[in-house]
């Protein structure tokens, strides 16, 4: 007979069950006087809220490449272009060789290994409307100019804008031909002017980059949404 059923039939299940559980479940607790040492548990009987694993500043995982600091400021067109605090900003981009994470569908993952989630992250804008990430300079893949994907949400997670950030070609050329310890494919095959996404809109999607091919770059960009 199940213990619970047995106790129910005794008519005292709710009263006595906690007492029995406290005495029976573990033999590694130490009792001294009126209190017992809390037992060690391997499983999480008391789960805690855990933030999404995307919520991180450093999104490099184990991916190597020229350091890139990404600083994105969000402005609200519906509020005279004032900065927008508490917006959720997702970014993702390819690695130095042009590969993305998360394209595995339901493939096997390893719980302590974050490699399937590289170069993808989420930050909430601060009071200056700024979201910052530590990453690497993206590589490129065939038929696309180098870019960073951005998805901006309001604080409730409602989508405000899906967009992309373009890179100045003189800088991508310099990185891909100079930082060859990382980037081995040479110059990109598609420039912003002939890119399907950027050709008609690059003026408002082009980032400002400062830095060099030894120490890395800082990317700054402003994105305007209707919040």
């Amino acid at each position: 007979m199940e213990r619970k059923q047995f106790l129910k039939r005794l008519g005292m299940g709710s009263l006595i069950l906690p007492l029995l559980q406290a005495c029976s479940s573990d033999d590694d607790d130490v009792t001294s006087g009126a209190c017992s040492t809390t037992p060690t548990e391997t499983a999480g009987p008391f789960p805690t809220k855990d933030p999404d694993s995307l919520e991180m500043v450093d999104i490099r995982s184990e991916r190597t490449g020229l350091p890139l600091t990404v600083k994105i400021t969000i402005q609200n067109k519906n509020n005279s272009c004032a900065v927008l605090a508490d917006a959720i900003v997702d970014i993702w981009h390819c690695d130095k060789d042009g590969y993305y994470s998360e394209y595995g569908g339901t493939s096997m993952q390893t719980v302590n290994y974050t490699s399937v989630h590289f170069l993808r992250g989420r930050q909430v804008t601060d009071s200056n409307g700024l979201a910052g990430f530590t990453s690497i300079f993206p590589g490129w893949y065939a038929s696309r100019a180098p870019h960073i994907h951005v998805h901006v949400y309001n604080a409730s997670g409602v989508s405000l804008l899906v967009t992309q950030i373009a890179f100045p070609s003189e800088i991508t050329d310099a990185v891909y031909t100079t930082a060859t310890q990382y980037y081995t494919k040479g110059k990109q095959d598609t420039y912003n002017s002939s890119d399907n996404i950027f050709a008609d809109s690059v003026d408002s999607e082009l980032a400002t980059l400062t830095g060099n091919t030894t120490d890395g770059y800082v990317l700054t960009h402003t994105i305007v949404v209707n919040a």
Binding site: A43, D50, S53, Y103, G105, Y153, V162
Partner: protein
């Protein structure tokens, strides 16, 4: 002697009927992640269910992996022990590191339709025998110790729905195989 080495797979399905705190956290947070990420594949907001979004854009298959990011913190809280599958003393003990995350169903306007599965794949276990509906197991590869006649720690686990043997390597010990043949023992459960 052991029947062989196995890996168990436990498929844990979580939906709105879940009562555990861990399950509720996983469901709430993966739903929020689904709600957010699905908008990328549904920018015209024409579709409401995961199935519709997937039919419209096969790339939405990435949502399984994308949404799993909201569950990983909770999976780490399990300390590499498969949940729910306990020994006869009620303790979880089956080690796992690998899992698959799957969105079974979801709806962008109704969180109560959100239903997910987490498939936990155990590390290698030595399957020694089966006693009624119980697996007699040892954690790790204990074939050598058994061959040497050593005493080893074992666990007993009841078979249950959603628990399966996901991979199997028969005992290579010739005597063990011969013994099984003589006994007419069945490798199936």
């Amino acid at each position: 002697m052991a029947k062989g080495l196995i890996r168990l797979c436990y498929s844990k399905v979580i939906d709105a009927s879940a009562s555990g705190v861990w399950e509720k956290y996983v469901l709430d947070d993966t739903y929020r992640e689904f709600f957010m990420q699905a908008q990328y594949y549904n920018q015209q907001q024409k579709f409401t269910t995961f199935r519709e979004i997937l039919e419209h854009d096969p790339k939405a298959d990435r949502l399984h992996a994308l949404v799993s990011t909201a569950a990983i913190g909770y999976l780490r809280q399990l300390n590499e022990r498969i949940p729910d599958i306990t020994n006869v003393s009620g303790k979880v003990f089956i080690p796992f590191r690998n899992f698959k995350f799957e969105i079974l169903h979801s709806h962008v306007k109704d969180k109560y339709q959100h239903k997910i599965a987490i498939h936990f794949y155990s590390e290698v276990l030595t399957w020694i025998d089966t006693v009624q509906n119980m697996f007699l197991l040892a954690v790790g590869d204990k074939r050598e110790a058994l061959r040497n006649g050593q005493m080893i720690d074992t666990e007993m686990v009841a078979w249950r729905p959603n628990l399966s043997i996901s991979s199997f390597q028969p005992a290579t010990d010739v005597q063990a195989i011969e013994a099984q043949v003589q006994e007419g023992s069945d490798l199936k459960l």
